[in-house]
């Protein structure tokens, strides 16, 4: 167990970033998101949550895939996928960490997504326990312990100090290189964790009942009349999907540059009306259908294919960010069981 005084933490950032690229929550223009540590950035480790989740680091908003050169009838293909250098991702909360598991199930399943994998392999994750979980948090429902996020290194803030505990070889290796850290005592951390656990128990959504999302009642849930009312106010924007740490739908698009065509993939949203649109048909015509798809996927379809693992980690971003206050909690309360 190592520790550092929070007042000294810039030194730690500097030291890490001298070893590897360091990504951590940075506040810019009033919003905190994961960003590269550079001189002068406003590191915001106190905020419980970034707006965009940490998935951005492995599955960025948009990334280049291929550069095509086209001349006459000829096409030349040039792989444009960037190889990732080792980097440190600092300040990942328990929910986001859990989301990596969910994403792995998609991207690391055969055929392995190399763009994702290269970044996933390159990362050393330093998690951070949530001292003050918010009312919108319900990670516990999905088995996340916000007091104990098991990254490569687990960090916990106790008072004016931050404690570090390596949990993997990768973590130990990194930690051993960090000279700015001093030895710390586990006791303080343990009591902080207990305190967090107590706080978690008091959160309003901590006892959401998921018992009805079983798998065998897929069609019954699909046909539930409540979807209509649940989705009524949905604007069909992509806010929930884009802030969601587990949403991973993407689009593959071409952009004509001045000397060729760049193919890139970028985030897409099943909430968008164009998402499933074909030349003549659109299997999901109404916003209700699209809304239902998103939550059915998270709570029913995904678990059906992944041993009961939900594609939601209870981070509560959608609870906070939906323009019209629609969210998965409302869905679970309506359809999940005894809520």
């Amino acid at each position: 167990m190592k520790k550092i005084a929070i007042s000294n933490i810039e030194k730690l950032y500097n030291e890490i970033s001298s070893l590897q690229e360091l990504y951590l929550p940075v506040k810019k223009a009033g919003a905190t998101n994961f960003a590269k540590y550079e001189n002068g950035v406003d590191v915001d480790i106190k905020s419980l949550q970034t707006v965009k989740s940490a998935k951005d680091l492995f599955f960025p908003q948009s990334e280049d895939m291929i550069d095509f050169k086209v001349s006459g009838k000829n096409i030349e293909i040039k792989d444009a996928r960037a190889q990732s250098n080792p980097f440190v991702l600092f300040g990942v909360r328990g929910c986001d960490l859990k989301s990596f598991e969910v994403l792995d199930k998609v991207f690391l399943q055969e055929p392995v997504d190399t763009m994702y994998k290269s970044k996933r392999d390159a990362v050393t994750v330093i998690t951070l326990a949530c001292n003050n979980p918010e009312s919108s948090c319900f990670c516990k429902v999905f088995g996340v312990d916000p007091a104990n996020p098991k990254g490569d290194i687990q960090a916990t803030i106790v008072g004016e100090e931050m404690f570090f505990e390596p949990l993997t070889d990768k973590g130990s290796e990194l930690l051993s290189k960090l000279t700015t850290l001093e030895d710390g005592d586990e006791k303080a951390v343990e009591s902080e964790k207990k305190e967090i656990s107590q706080k978690v128990e008091k959160l309003p959504f901590v006892n959401l009942d998921l018992s009805n999302f079983k798998g065998e009642n897929l069609m019954e849930l699909f046909d539930r009349p409540e979807w209509e009312e649940l989705s009524k106010a949905c604007l069909g924007c992509g806010t929930c999907t884009f802030v969601c740490p587990t949403c991973q739908c993407f689009d593959i698009r071409d952009f004509e540059t001045n000397d060729g065509v760049k193919r890139f993939r970028c985030w897409d949203s099943c909430m968008y009306s164009e998402f499933t649109k074909m030349a003549a048909e659109n299997p999901r015509k109404t916003q209700m259908q699209r809304y239902r798809q998103r939550f059915m996927h998270k709570l029913v379809y995904f678990p059906a294919n992944n041993g009961g693992e939900y594609s939601c980690v209870g981070c509560g971003r959608c609870v906070k960010k939906c323009p019209q206050s629609l969210n998965i909690v409302k869905v679970i309360k309506k359809l999940g069981g005894k809520n």
């Binding site: 998101n33 802030v243 019209q324 409302k330």
Partner: protein, 318 residues
């Protein structure tokens, strides 16, 4: 202010039971007190969840585009700012007015949920609204401290309605609507560039600003239309952030009622209203004061002209 809600509920129940309307567009109770959501109520029973309070910031007018295509009449409660959007939509033939029963409701500013959080309020257990103050969980705030940006500069009036439910005089704005626009205009170009670069680089292109905007009611947005030549999804270059927001602001220029929904819904807190407000400010300055949505017939400033209009080369910021 509880009385307003009671009056509205009464109205809704009466109209529903008399058969005058078949549906009611209003706000529904949330899970945490502040997270009310727009909803369509179809029965007296469903109205049990109906609320109208200081958290009902959402503009309901845009829902009417779809709702008025359905059978039967719908009752809608419109706050002053919503009614401007409503008028603008009527002007643009997007709403069938015959299918709406409009009730204007008093609004003294709605709470900004982010500001609530900043003040440490996680769950709303109790609240009490007065014209200039609001007390949440026993903590008293002036409206200026806690309301949405759009509400602290609101100069909007209750426009024409089928009916009005209002008890108190409207609160006057806390500050000048163009304060921030002017501040930006007084900066150097480099400072402005830096400001917007920071702001817009946060954009995740979730399209919340567009989809919530009552002026954005295109069947298919140019940015979703692969044939438009400017279709784009996630920003894959900083240019696309600017492109999207400039074009969006331009497309609603002269039509934007400054309802502030774009900024309210932005998950990254980008002050998008400052773009629209820039156009509004320029329009007021160059072509005479114009408030979109104030009426349902006037020509918008971009579909109008005078022979004496200034030349683009003579237009300077501020």
């Amino acid at each position: 202010m509880q009385k307003l809600e009671t009056l509205m509920l009464e109205k809704a129940k009466n109209l529903l039971s008399s058969g005058e309307v078949s549906r009611v567009l209003g706000w529904k109770k949330g899970e945490l007190g502040y997270d009310v959501e727009p909803s369509v109520f179809t029965s007296a029973q469903s109205l049990d969840n109906f609320v109208y309070n200081v958290f009902c910031g959402a503009n309901l007018s845009k829902y009417l585009v779809q709702e008025t295509k359905k059978e039967g009449k719908i009752l809608v409660f419109l706050k002053p700012c919503d009614s401007y959007s409503f008028n603008q939509l009527i002007k643009e033939h997007r709403i069938n007015k015959d299918k709406v029963y409009t009730v204007g409701v008093e609004c003294q500013g709605k709470i900004d949920n982010y500001k609530l959080k900043e003040n440490g309020i996680e769950v709303v257990e109790s609240f009490d609204e007065e014209v200039d103050f609001v007390t949440v969980n026993g903590k008293k705030f002036t409206k200026g401290e806690i309301v949405l940006g759009k509400c602290s500069v609101c100069e909007k009036k209750l426009l024409d309605y089928d009916e009005v439910i209002s008890i108190n005089e409207k609160r006057s704005p806390d500050k000048d609507r163009f304060e921030m626009v002017k501040k930006l205009e007084s900066m150097t170009a480099d400072e402005r560039y830096a400001f917007w670069k920071d702001q817009l680089s946060n954009c995740i292109r979730c399209n919340a600003c567009r989809n919530v905007c009552p002026a954005c009611t295109c069947t298919k947005c140019v940015f979703d239309n692969d044939n438009s030549g400017i279709a784009s999804k996630a920003n894959s270059d900083s240019f696309e952030e600017k492109m999207f927001h400039i074009i969006r602001a331009f497309h609603v220029a002269g039509r934007c009622t400054d309802c502030g929904e774009c900024s309210r819904v932005c998950p990254q807190h980008i002050p998008l209203h400052l773009l629209n407000r820039k156009f509004i400010g320029d329009i007021n300055r160059l072509y005479g004061t114009y408030q979109a949505g104030e009426d349902t017939t006037s020509k918008g400033p971009l579909t109008d002209y005078t022979k004496q209009d200034v030349d683009p080369s003579d237009v300077f910021g501020g």
